[in-house]
């Protein structure tokens, strides 16, 4: 357990007790994730389990986002691997995928044809609107995690606004945006860290 980073500002930090705990926690997390696990991952890992602080979640989420593959899958591998190595990563991944796969395949077999009915389409429309709101709310809550960012609040807001305009309004491809803004922001952050004497 010596690898667990100490929490800044004295927040209580928990860790998964063992690999079974990881597996069950990720299963529970995945099964709550209607409209995508993204909507619940922050609430379960940060607010309920306290395995990560808000700041650590943002840092890990950045890595999970930039690597190829589903973001939550990447996050499960990172967390599982950090606490218990390769088997931990596999336990978290299995928890995330196993039960939902069985569930979604059973649904597909049981309700073949239902997904195309107006009733199902209406439900999906409603779920989609709520899921969109949930994801936006997670982002707004995480803005607080920028308070300790070495680049300072103003720079963070400028970078965030540029990203929002590029993706949300101009609809530029994600890879382009990450590959242009990402290196600029990282180089600037390195400069700020040096100034602050953190390096």
């Amino acid at each position: 357990m010596s690898q667990i980073p100490a929490a800044p500002s004295g927040l209580p930090m928990n860790a998964p007790r063992n690999k079974a705990d990881l597996f069950i926690s990720f299963t529970w997390l995945a099964l709550q994730g209607f409209g995508g696990v993204l909507t619940v991952v922050q609430r379960v890992l940060v607010e309920e389990k306290k395995w990560l602080t808000q700041e650590q979640f943002v840092e890990d989420w950045a890595v999970a986002q930039i690597l190829p593959g589903p973001n939550v899958v990447n996050l499960s591998l990172m967390l599982g691997g950090r606490f218990f190595g390769l088997t931990g990563a596999l336990a978290a991944l299995a928890g995330l995928l196993l039960a939902p796969t069985v569930l979604v395949l059973s649904l597909a077999a049981a309700v073949a044809g239902f997904a195309e009915t107006p009733l199902a389409q209406g439900m999906l429309r409603g779920l989609g609107a709520v899921a969109a709101g949930l994801i936006a709310a997670v982002g707004i809550k995480l803005v607080m995690a920028l308070d300790n960012n070495p680049m300072g609040r103003l720079t963070c807001m400028v970078l965030g606004s540029l990203t929002f305009v590029a993706i949300g309004l101009l609809r530029l491809p994600l890879a382009w945006v990450l590959l242009t803004l990402g290196p600029i922001a990282s180089v600037w952050a390195a400069h700020c860290l040096k100034q602050r004497g953190d390096a």
Binding site: G33, F34, G35, G36, V37, V40, V58, W61, A62, V63, A64, Q65, I66, L67, P68, P70, N71, V73, T101, V104, L105, A108, A109, A112, A115, E116, L119, A120, G122, M123, L124, R125, G126, A129, V130, A131, A132, G133, L134, I135, A136, A137, V138, G139, I140, L142, L146, N149, M151, C156, G160, S161, L181, G182, A185, S186, V187, A189, A190, L193
Partner: protein, 198 residues
């Protein structure tokens, strides 16, 4: 829809998903257009309806959205076995399809993620690692907000879609300012949708 898949066909299905895995920056869903081109247009192993229903079901059901890949594998296998009427033989083929597509989609990206993040965690005090995380933080937070915005904004007919926008905005406020359980909000959304009110 019934079709015959040779061993070589299964091999090429596996290779296709392997080749998409490392391109799926931002989530597996970003590869959906290419999967459509391959499975629906080129090989015709999947019908248009099955393609759309797979994505819709994976988004409506709990679990990661990448399960749309599992559902497509399931449907390809089922088609190869003559549909659900084909009994256990068809279901075995469908499960085989799930395994082939999911393994292809996940093995390359998971391997890369595991190796890269273990390295980054061991070197977490390195300036480059710290700078990357700090620099990316505001960008990924904005991405989350933009994702919520895009999911709502894809419905862009104000006269018809304003109730959807209202529900999304109300959800954002409730989650931000209160501790309302997400399942309650999702249930309300599904109910409003089922009633045809939004």
């Amino acid at each position: 829809m019934t079709l015959t898949l040779t061993l070589a066909d299964w091999g090429s299905l596996f290779l296709h998903f392997i080749s998409l895995s490392l391109l799926s920056v931002g989530g597996a869903i970003t590869t959906a257009p290419d999967i459509h081109r391959y499975l629906v247009d080129e090989t015709r192993w999947l019908s248009e309806t099955q393609f759309t229903a797979s994505i819709a079901l994976a988004q409506g059901a709990p679990g990661p959205n990448v399960l749309f890949v599992a559902l497509m594998g399931w449907n390809v296998g089922l088609n190869a076995g003559g549909g659900l009427a084909g009994g256990w033989a068809a279901i075995s083929l469908a499960l085989w399809g799930v395994f082939i597509t999911m393994a292809g989609m996940l093995i390359p990206s998971c391997t890369l993620t595991f190796v890269a993040t273990q390295w980054a965690h061991r070197n977490r005090d390195m300036l480059a690692v710290k700078a990357f995380k700090a620099g990316m933080a505001p960008i990924v937070i904005a991405l989350l907000i933009a994702t919520g915005w895009l999911l709502t904004g894809s419905h862009d007919n104000p006269a018809r879609d304003w109730p959807l926008w209202l529900v999304a905005a109300a959800t954002t406020l409730l989650v931000w300012k209160t501790k309302t359980h997400m399942l309650v909000l999702l249930a309300i959304g599904a109910l409003l949708g089922a009633l045809g009110w939004i």
